[in-house]
Each structure stands twice: as structure tokens, then as C-alpha cells.
């Protein structure tokens, strides 16, 4: 393949028209002229989605740990109460 054949092949393969529709043109223009909106590009949305997912996971794990801790406290309290009742009963019967 000589140089001119290759150049034609590259032009044909990678030089084809790539039309932008009017909606996209307007969106790019409005985001560009509004700096805050310019930040909300597609990749930013991906980061926002990731941040939201991490927040949900953190809340979920936190809630689970809180529930588990509360349950342990209830079990400990109940065990202590039962021991106390048993001890009192024992004291009454044998003293």
C-alpha cells in the first residue's frame, strides 16, 4: 500500500461527516455560556451517580450497625434483668 492509497483510506475511514443535531448544539451552547451548567457534563453525572451510590451504601451500613448495636444492648439488658430476677427468687427461697 503506497502513501497516497493509505492517505485516501484514512480520509475515507476517519474523515466522514459527523453531524451534530440542533438539540446538541443548543445544549453545548447553553452549558458553555452558563459556567455552572458547564460543570454538569456527562462525565460529571457519572461522578454524581457514584457519589450518590456511595452515600446510599454508607447510610445502609450505618443503619445496619446502629440496629445491631441496639439489639446487643437489648439482649445484654434482658440477660442482666433475668439474672437479677433469678438471684432475687433464689435469695427469697433459701434465706
Amino acid at each position: 500500500m503506497n502513501d497516497s492509497e493509505l492517505e485516501s483510506l484514512l480520509a475515507e475511514t476517519y474523515g466522514q461527516d459527523f453531524p451534530l443535531d440542533d438539540v446538541l448544539v443548543q445544549r453545548i451552547a447553553s452549558r458553555a455560556t452558563t459556567p455552572v451548567l458547564a460543570f454538569t457534563r456527562k462525565s460529571s453525572f457519572k461522578w454524581l451517580a457514584l457519589a450518590a451510590s456511595l452515600t446510599c451504601v454508607t447510610i445502609g451500613v450505618g443503619s445496619g450497625m446502629y440496629a445491631a448495636t441496639t439489639e446487643i444492648q437489648i439482649v445484654e439488658t434482658t440477660t442482666q434483668d433475668l439474672e437479677q430476677i433469678f438471684t432475687n427468687q433464689y435469695d427469697r427461697e433459701f434465706l
Partner: protein, 186 residues
């Protein structure tokens, strides 16, 4: 580049610098699609290419007052696009990964790829993605985007001699990779 087209671009830039936002829409309509094509071909990712187009025109709008009339607008926009694409490639290491995957590619792989998939575009993409990124960029700027040697050198920030060397090595490598399937491609 066409002189009247460049004059039109300069008018848009002056309007933009004066605060006329409608000139930005005109610039996007005129150059957005070719910048989208360049970024898509260079990054091999249409979604990220849209971000590149967004970045280019945001920069154009923010820096219109700094733009110097002696610079060609189209070349300036492509320089912004090229630099941003390089940042993306560096940050994601995508190109390096792609290159490393294809480093071992040889002529028989490409011939087999062509025979089994009958998709010459995929074969050309494989060969292009196996090139070092600067060689790929030169080939895209020169033959897909139609920039002259001096314009492409300005966009990439290299000397014309260096650009010529990159183009020559890129073409030689591509010709070598595509030799086994030349008949199917031409």
C-alpha cells in the same frame, strides 16, 4: 484553510469577545461536528468526545477576549481539543492500555480478523490504535481533518520536521499492518 471561512470565524470571535453569545452557536454549528469527529476518532469514545466538544466551546466562550486575531480560529479550537484529549488519555490511561493490548498484534492476526469479521473498519481501527498516540494524532489531523503540515504542527505543539517524521513513521507502520488485507481494503 479557506480565507473567507477564517474571516467568518474571526468575525464570530470578535462578536463573542464583545459579549454576543449567539456567535457561539454559530461557531459550534460550523466546527462542532469536525471537533466531535476528531475527538471520537482519537479517544475511540463518542460519549467522552461530547465532553471534549463541550470543553472546547466553554473555553472559547471564556477566553474569547484573549484570542489573538493573527491565530486561525479553527486551529485554536483544535489545539484546545487536542490538549484536552491528551489529558483524558493520561488520566484514564486508556490509550496506554489499548496500545499494550495491541502491542503484540501481527499481520496474521489482522488478516484473520478481516477474514472472520469481514469488517475492514475494525481492522483499520486496530491498526490505528496500535500506533503511538502522537502518530495516530498526526494521521487524523493530516488526512481525516485535512490540516496542512504547519497547522497540524501548531495544534500538536511540535516542529514541522518532527511532525513530518511522525507522519512518515505512522504511515509506514499502518502500511505494514494493513499489507495482508490490502486487496480487501482498496
Amino acid at each position: 484553510m479557506d480565507t473567507s471561512s477564517d474571516e467568518e470565524d474571526k468575525t464570530y470571535m470578535h462578536r463573542l469577545a464583545a459579549g454576543d453569545d449567539s456567535a457561539l452557536t454559530l461557531l459550534i454549528r460550523k466546527h462542532g461536528s469536525s471537533i466531535m469527529r476528531f475527538a471520537t476518532n482519537l479517544l475511540d469514545d463518542a460519549d467522552t468526545a461530547e465532553d471534549v466538544v463541550q470543553h472546547v466551546f466553554t473555553q472559547a466562550w471564556q477566553n474569547a477576549h484573549r484570542w489573538k486575531p493573527r491565530a486561525q480560529v479553527k486551529t485554536w479550537l483544535y489545539t484546545i481539543a487536542h490538549n484536552y484529549c491528551l489529558n483524558i488519555l493520561k488520566s484514564t490511561k486508556r490509550y496506554i492500555q489499548d496500545s499494550s493490548l495491541l502491542d503484540g498484534i501481527d499481520e496474521s492476526d489482522l488478516a484473520e480478523e478481516s477474514a472472520t469479521r469481514s469488517q475492514s473498519r475494525k481492522v483499520i481501527d486496530l491498526a490505528m490504535n496500535s500506533l503511538p498516540k502522537r502518530q495516530k494524532t498526526v494521521l487524523l489531523l493530516r488526512y481525516a481533518e485535512g490540516f496542512s503540515q504547519s497547522e497540524a504542527a501548531e495544534i500538536m505543539g511540535v516542529s514541522e520536521k518532527a511532525l513530518e517524521s511522525l507522519a512518515s513513521r505512522g504511515k509506514s507502520e499502518m502500511a505494514k499492518k494493513l499489507r495482508p488485507i490490502k486487496e480487501a481494503l482498496l
